[in-house]
């Protein structure tokens, strides 16, 4: 009778520890990427040194979108399989994701102001990240407002799926707006015409952020499993 409980707690602890390990590696890699970006990557002609924040900016946006997509996909799985652990995983992804989107939303304006003279633009990346942030906040607010764990899991899953379906519409809308209102030409960082050194640094940063995402979510998920194992002594 006590065996399953001990296994659950042990497994959770292992997961958290492994997650922390990955996160530390990712942070070290991030330090490496910073060195790479500052020391071994050419300075961009038009935008100068301030452009370097792009190597932090784009991957953070990518990570928050990744986190959100995973919340959506795991939500579908939850409604299908009804395994509570899926709900805990989605929650972990949302908490990590909201953090990444906050990073993106604060670094974005810091970068934009010196280069474009404006704090904000409604380009695809910023708009999407802003809305992903709002959706995350709504998701976490809803979870905080529902006390029954079953109901919380169900409602979160519904919201996660609706949010996932919304994302393509945001894309379409920004695209339609852009084709009808041509924007002044600015550097398009996602264009493949980046020189190899910049592309390499960007990719390294994206990999690092993805690793950081994996590490943080694993840690958070491990913590959630651990708490669940402690709180439900005779449930599997």
């Amino acid at each position: 009778m006590t065996e399953p409980r001990d296994n659950g707690l042990d497994r959770a602890r292992t997961l958290s520890r492994r997650g922390l390990g990955i996160s530390v590696v990712a942070l070290a890699a991030f330090a490496g990427v910073c060195v790479l970006a500052l020391g071994f990557t050419p300075v961009e002609a038009r935008q100068g040194l301030a452009q370097k924040i792009f190597y932090l900016h784009v991957p953070a946006a990518w990570s928050s979108l990744l986190a959100f997509s995973i919340v959506g996909i795991v939500s579908i799985l939850y409604l299908w399989l009804r395994d509570r652990r899926l709900d805990l995983f989605a929650e972990s992804s949302a908490e990590v994701g909201v953090m990444f989107s906050v990073v993106m939303l604060t670094t974005g304006p810091i970068w934009a102001k010196p280069i474009w003279g404006t704090w904000w633009t409604w380009d695809a990346r910023l708009t999407l990240t802003l809305f992903v942030f709002f959706l995350f906040v709504g998701y976490l607010a809803l979870r905080a407002a529902i006390h029954d764990p079953d109901e919380r899991a169900r409602f979160s899953a519904v919201l996660g799926i609706m949010g996932l379906v919304l994302v393509p519409f945001i894309h379409l809308s920004v695209y339609l707006f852009r084709t009808l209102h041509p924007q002044p030409i600015v550097l398009k960082p996602s264009a493949p015409s980046l020189p190899w050194e910049m592309l390499r640094t960007l990719l390294a940063s994206v990999v690092t952020f993805t690793l950081l995402y994996i590490g943080l979510v694993t840690t958070r998920y491990g913590l959630a499993l651990g708490r669940r194992a402690r709180e439900t002594p005779d449930a599997a």
Binding site: L79, F131, F134, L135, V137, G138, A141, L142, A145, I146, D150, E151, R154, F155, A157, V158, L159, I161, M162, G163, V165, L166, F169, I170, L172, S173, L176, L180
Partner: protein
């Protein structure tokens, strides 16, 4: 399938009959919309921009807020005396319950819009002219979509302590987009632009409607069934 539609109509008819009896929610939402219009009117700078330029934004922000106020009615009413249990006990597919609540909400929102639009014309002294049918069609297209999403979210919000706060937080990220497209279309209609310039926005609205209405019908059961 036909049975689901029949049941949806039965539920919608019940809601509409009850609302016509009581009228509190309907009147409150309408008065709210009127007051929002007044606030917009008083807060504009009359020398800066002619009213017709602001018209699409003012109209749509008003429609949006009034809709949010109106949407919580549908499930608050089912909390009294455990009436929701009564719906769930019956051999009614959950999609049909959604459809019924949705249709009632849509009728409700349409009624508020039908009063708000003339009020807007009067307060802002705007001549809609030949744009009127187009504006009505755009309003319908946009409302079909966000009322569907709002119906699902209000079913969830009503289970929290602060439903009136929770619903906007959940719904607005989803509502911003149809409202944005509706504003674009309305602006062009008032400008007398040809239909081809509107087509993109209207198509987006229609796509949103189809996708979210279908999704909401399918997903509603997960909200109400324990």
């Amino acid at each position: 399938m036909a049975d689901s539609v029949r049941l949806a109509v039965v539920i919608a008819a019940k809601d509409i009959r009850a609302e016509l009896r009581n009228r509190t929610a309907l009147l409150s939402a309408t008065v709210f919309a009127a007051l929002v219009l007044v606030i917009f009117y008083f807060s504009r700078d009359p020398t800066a921009v002619p009213a017709i330029v602001l018209a699409p934004s003012v109209l749509w922000v008003t429609f949006a807020f009034a809709a949010i106020v109106a949407l919580n009615r549908a499930f608050t009413v089912e909390r009294e005396h455990g009436a929701m249990d009564g719906l769930l006990l019956a051999p009614v597919p959950r999609g049909a319950i959604f459809l019924g609540k949705y249709l009632a909400n849509l009728a409700f929102v349409a009624a508020v819009q039908a009063v708000t639009l003339p009020l807007f014309v009067v307060f802002f002294n705007v001549d809609l002219g030949s744009a009127l049918p187009g504006i009505v069609a755009t309003a319908a297209l946009a409302s079909i979509g966000f009322v569907a999403v709002g119906t699902v979210f209000s079913a969830m919000a009503v289970r929290t302590r602060f439903a009136e706060l929770m619903l906007p937080v959940l719904l607005l990220p989803f509502m911003v987009w149809p409202v944005r497209w509706a504003v674009e279309a309305t602006a062009r209609l008032l400008d007398g632009r040809p239909l081809s310039e509107l087509a993109g926005w209207l198509r987006l609205l229609a796509l949103y409607d189809v996708v979210f209405l279908t999704l909401c019908i399918m997903i509603f059961g997960a909200v109400v069934d324990e």
